[in-house]
């Protein structure tokens, strides 16, 4: 186990964390501002991945596909919010869970009808293929570095949007008291739709970028959705900073666990057992981490304070 291998895994963890952050940011805003638990967020990720794959295959241009994905996923998100989710804001969490669970079944089946049950595989776009030497002796795929860069950019823009702009001020205000801000003349339903569309767009972006890394298939959204829940629980519901911290932690722990747990256990156990136990433990590691955080801080690492 060399230091170079560790560095590579650190970058892998960061890249995975960035994907999680793109999902978690939208979800945590919807949680924090609308008080809404949206299981169908994973479906938006899946829709993004499929649209990107289709446009990419039709036109051959990844950039065009990416642009189409951003627009389409935002539109799908806005449509879903207007048609189905809007009435659920005032309901309890149980209703929201069930209705969005129904939406997942619908989206999965619709995807199966349109694109078929087989997984799609995407090539890395030509401009981002190949790898770069980050330090002498370590080559790292350029595409994954690009994902990390996009994640950093999104995190910074979100920070700027929420803290520095007028719209961000309204978002923060509506999170702490939606009646007052409505009375002050802000169109709260429109604001909610925009925030939901923004979240959907980020989920679609994550899906589009995931295409060349993992396969595009029905049900891909659910796996990442549950990891995103773990991220949000660790970071604190409604907190974008918490989502950033949580995703990086979960990305690191999961990647490191998978890469090094079997080998480290091999120091004490025989190789076959170490591999089996290591793989099992690695797949459980983030959940155990989440449980530990909850025992220590039941409302997450960076909770939002102003929530009536």
């Amino acid at each position: 186990m060399s230091i170079l291998l560790v560095l590579e895994q650190v970058l892998n963890g960061l890249q995975f964390g960035v994907m999680l952050f793109l999902m978690a940011a939208g979800l945590t805003l919807v949680f924090g501002i609308m008080g809404m638990i949206n299981l169908a967020h994973g479906s938006l990720y899946m829709v993004g991945a499929y649209i990107c794959a289709t446009v990419y295959q039709l036109t051959g241009s990844f950039w065009l596909a990416l642009a189409a994905t951003l627009c389409a996923s935002a539109l799908v998100g806005i449509a879903v919010e207007r048609i189905a989710l809007r009435t659920l804001y005032s309901r309890d969490h149980l209703d929201q869970v069930l209705a969005t669970f129904g939406l997942i079944l619908f989206f999965n089946e619709l995807t199966k009808i349109i694109w078929g049950p087989r997984a799609l595989f995407l090539d890395v776009p030509a401009a981002l293929s190949g790898s770069v030497q980050i330090i002498p002796g370590v080559d790292y795929p350029l595409y994954r570095l690009a994902i990390i860069a996009v994640g950093g950019l999104v995190a910074f823009s979100l920070y700027w949007l929420i803290v520095r702009t007028r719209m961000g001020m309204m978002i923060r205000a509506s999170a702490s008291n939606r009646e007052i801000i409505g009375a002050l003349g802000v169109n709260v339903p429109l604001l909610y739709t925009l925030v939901f569309g923004l979240g959907a767009m980020l989920a679609g972006l994550a899906g589009a970028m995931a295409g060349p890394v993992w396969s595009v298939e029905v049900g891909m959204g659910e796996n990442i959705l549950i990891l995103t829940f773990v991220v949000i629980v660790i970071g604190g519901i409604g907190s974008v900073r918490g989502a950033l911290l949580g995703s990086c932690l979960v990305g690191f722990i999961d990647t490191m666990g998978r890469a090094f747990l079997p080998a480290s256990l091999g120091l004490f156990l025989d190789p076959a057992t170490a591999n089996g136990v290591g793989a099992s433990l690695a797949s459980m590691s983030i959940y155990i981490f989440m449980a530990a955080i909850l025992v220590w801080k039941p409302s997450g690492l960076l909770p939002v304070h102003a929530r009536p």
């Binding site: 149980l94 997942i104 619908f106």
Partner: protein
């Protein structure tokens, strides 16, 4: 929580008078009809050459048992646990693993090499105990939180168990384990479909009776009190956390029993039993039938599984119908099917 759902059976009781007696008579008649129909179903199905009905209804009973156990915490306790498949799957895996070792797979170590392993008398209580222990661990952590956190955490723990079994190559990993035969129960041949049907029906009825006692007991009242207003129960001096945890463990234990029955029914266990969509399905059964009642989840299990059976016979993509139906049920039929029945009563 909407106002409609607050009007549970408890608060409706004082309104009973003449109408109450009518309602009781009507309900008794309905119950007798259903019971008679279910009792004659196996011989009738065999006579009509539709033996698959026995299996279908056995499956319905098993899921109904799981749904009632979830309703105990969801409908009566107000705990939205989205990880009920974990206890269901854990119970199934206990049966699967025991029978795997009994069949001589992989040099059985000491605790796994005993002759009782294929006996239902030993395997089922063990399945219940394992599921209860799991529920104790998960509940102890999750019940420290509430609301959205609770939903997500129970979901995450169930998914953790799912991934654990997916990566557990010793017991089949992703492919699961085949079970050579059903467990032995002295005096009853479980390999006989009809016997197994009656056994599942009996277990469901017994649990419904126990559940009825439980819901109307002091324990059940405290639980429902926690759902209505936890702060008030705390102020009254009830150790709310302990009551909720006890209910959580009980629900997990019963789900474990349902899982053990499911393993026997399918002759196969796989991580798929713990997948989060199974949790979702069980939850939908509870809501569809009417949560906060004991009959509701049973009706929900009947309707959902029959609907699945019928829809899937006619169309390949039946989920595309089921999904929107679920959204509509949530939006417009909060009290579930049993709720409609009760509203349709001639209550003056």
């Amino acid at each position: 929580m909407s106002d409609a759902s607050r009007t549970t059976a408890v608060s409706r009781a004082p309104a009973e008078g003449k109408a109450g007696r009518l309602e009781t008579g009507w309900r008794a008649a309905l119950l007798t009809c259903v019971a008679a129909a279910l009792l004659v179903l196996p011989p009738a199905a065999e006579a009509l050459d539709e033996a698959f009905l026995i299996g279908l209804f056995t499956r319905i009973f098993i899921f109904a048992l799981a749904a009632v156990s979830l309703d105990l915490i969801l409908g009566f306790g107000g705990m939205v646990s989205f990880g009920h498949s974990a206890y269901f799957g854990a119970g199934a895996y206990v049966v699967g693993i025991l029978s795997f070792h009994a069949a001589g797979g992989e040099a059985p170590a000491w605790p796994f090499s005993l002759p009782w392993m294929e006996s239902a008398v030993a395997a089922w209580p063990l399945a219940v105990a394992a599921a209860a222990l799991l529920a104790l661990l998960v509940g102890a952590v999750s019940l420290r939180t509430s609301g959205m956190y609770f939903i997500m955490i129970t979901l995450a723990f169930a998914q953790m168990l799912y991934y654990f079994f997916v990566s557990l190559e010793v017991y089949g990993g992703d492919d699961g384990l085949s079970i050579a035969g059903k467990n032995n129960l002295p005096g009853l041949d479980l390999e006989n479909e009809a016997s197994f049907y009656y056994l599942c029906l009996l277990i469901l009825v017994v649990f419904l009776l126990i559940g009825r006692r439980l819901v109307h007991s002091r324990f059940g009242m405290v639980l429902q009190g926690c759902k209505e207003n936890e702060q008030r129960m705390l102020a009254l001096g009830f150790p709310v956390y302990r009551y909720k945890l006890a209910a959580f463990v009980m629900a997990g234990a019963v789900a474990g029993l349902a899982g053990a029955l499911m393993a026997n029914y399918m002759g196969f266990v796989s991580p798929g039993l713990m997948h989060w969509t199974v949790s979702g399905e069980i939850m939908v059964m509870v809501i569809l039938g009417g949560m906060g009642t004991l009959a509701g989840p049973v009706i929900g299990a009947f309707v959902l599984l029959l609907l699945e059976e019928i829809l899937s016979a006619y169309m390949e993509h039946w989920m595309i119908v089921l999904g929107p139906v679920m959204v509509l049920v949530v939006l417009f039929a909060r009290r579930g099917i049993w709720g409609w029945f009760q509203r349709g009563d001639p209550d003056g």
